[in-house]
C-alpha cells in the first residue's frame, strides 16, 4: 500500500499522548551499577571508581557519571504509545545536571511527552518525539533532566526494541 506524503501520521490517538506522563519508577543507586557503567564506558574517573578517594571529595561518597542517568529508564506509557512506524533513531539529547547523584540515593524517574511533530525526509515521513525525563532524588530535588528527541520512520517489520525508547 502506498503512503501519501501529504497525509499526517499524527492521529487524534497520537495527539492525546502530548503531555502524557509515565508512571514513576524508583531506582536505588548501587555501588556495582556505578562501577559497571564507568567500566563499560571506559571512564577511570576516581569519583566513580574509588570510594576512598570519593569520600575525600566535595561529594563525600561515590557519585554517578553524568550519562549514568540513561540507565535509569522510565516506565513505558500505559497504554503504549501508538507507534505508527517501524524504525527508530535517537536524534540527540540535552541534559541538565542540577544536584549530584550519590551512592545510596533513591531516584524517581518520570518521562513526559512534550512535543510531537512530523517532517518529510529522504526516508519518507518521519515522526519526531521530544521527551522530558525528570530524575528526582529522595529529598524531592530535581537532580537531573534530559530532553531527548527520537525519530521514527518507515514501514515493515518493527525494529526489535522500538517500544523501549521514547
Amino acid at each position: 500500500m502506498s503512503k501519501n506524503l501529504h497525509s499526517t501520521v499524527i492521529t487524534d490517538d497520537i495527539k492525546s499522548f502530548l503531555n502524557a506522563e509515565s508512571e514513576p519508577v524508583y531506582y536505588q543507586i548501587e555501588r556495582q551499577a556505578i562501577y559497571n557503567f564507568s567500566n563499560a564506558t571506559g571512564d577511570e574517573n576516581s569519583l566513580y571508581n574509588d570510594e576512598i578517594f570519593a569520600r575525600s571529595s566535595i561529594y563525600g561518597t561515590l557519585i554517578v557519571p553524568p550519562l549514568f542517568i540513561r540507565s535509569l529508564r522510565p516506565m513505558k506509557y500505559d497504554p503504549l504509545f501508538p507507534e505508527p512506524f517501524s524504525h527508530i533513531l535517537d536524534a540527540g539529547s540535552k541534559f541538565f545536571f542540577i544536584h549530584p547523584i550519590r551512592l545510596g540515593d533513591t531516584i524517581c524517574v518520570v518521562k513526559k511527552l512534550v512535543d510531537i511533530f512530523e517532517k518529510d525526509g529522504k526516508m519518507g515521513k518521519m515522526l519526531f518525539r521530544k521527551t522530558e525525563i525528570t530524575f528526582k532524588n529522595q529529598f524531592g530535588q530535581v537532580a537531573a533532566k534530559e530532553f531527548n528527541t527520537i525519530i521514527t520512520y518507515g514501514y515493515g517489520e518493527k525494529d526489535p526494541g522500538i517500544d523501549d525508547h521514547g
Binding site: N36, F37, G42, S57, S71, G92, S93, P160
Partner: protein, 157 residues
C-alpha cells in the same frame, strides 16, 4: 549543579577558571569501541535495542556491522570534558546531536574548544563546543558542554 561555595574537598583543582582562555582547545582524546564494549554498555545502560549487539538486526537495517550507541558516544564526550576540567569541576549542561552512525573498530576523536567564560555565583562557568569526529573529518556528534570550574576569585575570596 547546585553546590556549596566553600568546599573543594581534599584536592587542589586541576584547572582554575582564571587560567582558562577563550578559544583554548582541549587536547584531543581518541576512542575505539569494541563489540565487547557495546555489549557491556548495553548491560550497564539497560539499552537492549538489538542493533547494537545483534549482527543480523544491524545487517537487516543496511549496516555492515553492529552500531555504537549514541549515548555511549555522549558518555565519551562527557568523560572528555570532565577529565580536562578535573574532579573539582562538574558538568552543568550537555547537548548532543547524533548526525552519523559509528562502528566498533572505528577511530573516533573527541574535540573541544572553549567558547565562553562567565563568573557564576560560586564557580566560574565555561562553555565548550565539543564534537566526536571520524578520522575522515566528518563530525559524527556535534555538541556543547557547560561546566562549573573552581574560581580563585570565588573560592579564595
Amino acid at each position: 549543579m547546585i553546590m556549596d561555595n566553600n568546599l573543594l574537598g581534599s584536592f587542589k583543582p586541576k584547572r582554575w577558571f582564571e587560567e582558562i582562555k577563550i578559544n583554548q582547545t582541549l587536547d584531543p582524546v581518541y576512542k575505539i569501541a569494541t563489540k565487547q564494549q557495546l555489549v557491556m554498555y548495553a548491560g550497564a545502560s539497560r539499552d537492549f535495542v538489538p542493533i547494537h549487539y545483534d549482527y543480523q538486526v544491524a545487517q537487516n537495517a543496511g549496516h555492515d556491522q553492529v552500531i555504537i550507541h549514541g549515548a555511549l558516544k555522549t558518555a565519551w564526550l562527557s568523560q572528555f570534558v570532565s577529565q580536562w576540567a578535573g574532579v573539582n569541576s562538574f558538568i552543568l549542561e550537555l547537548e548532543v546531536q547524533y548526525r552519523a552512525i559509528d562502528f566498533p573498530g572505528e577511530k573516533l576523536i573527541c574535540n573541544g574548544k572553549v567558547v565562553k567564560k562567565t563568573l557564576g555565583e560560586f564557580y566560574g562557568i565555561v562553555d565548550i563546543e565539543i564534537n566526536l569526529e571520524k578520522e575522515n573529518g566528518q563530525i559524527s556528534v556535534p555538541g556543547k558542554a557547560k561546566l562549573a570550574i573552581p574560581s580563585k576569585e570565588k573560592i579564595l575570596e
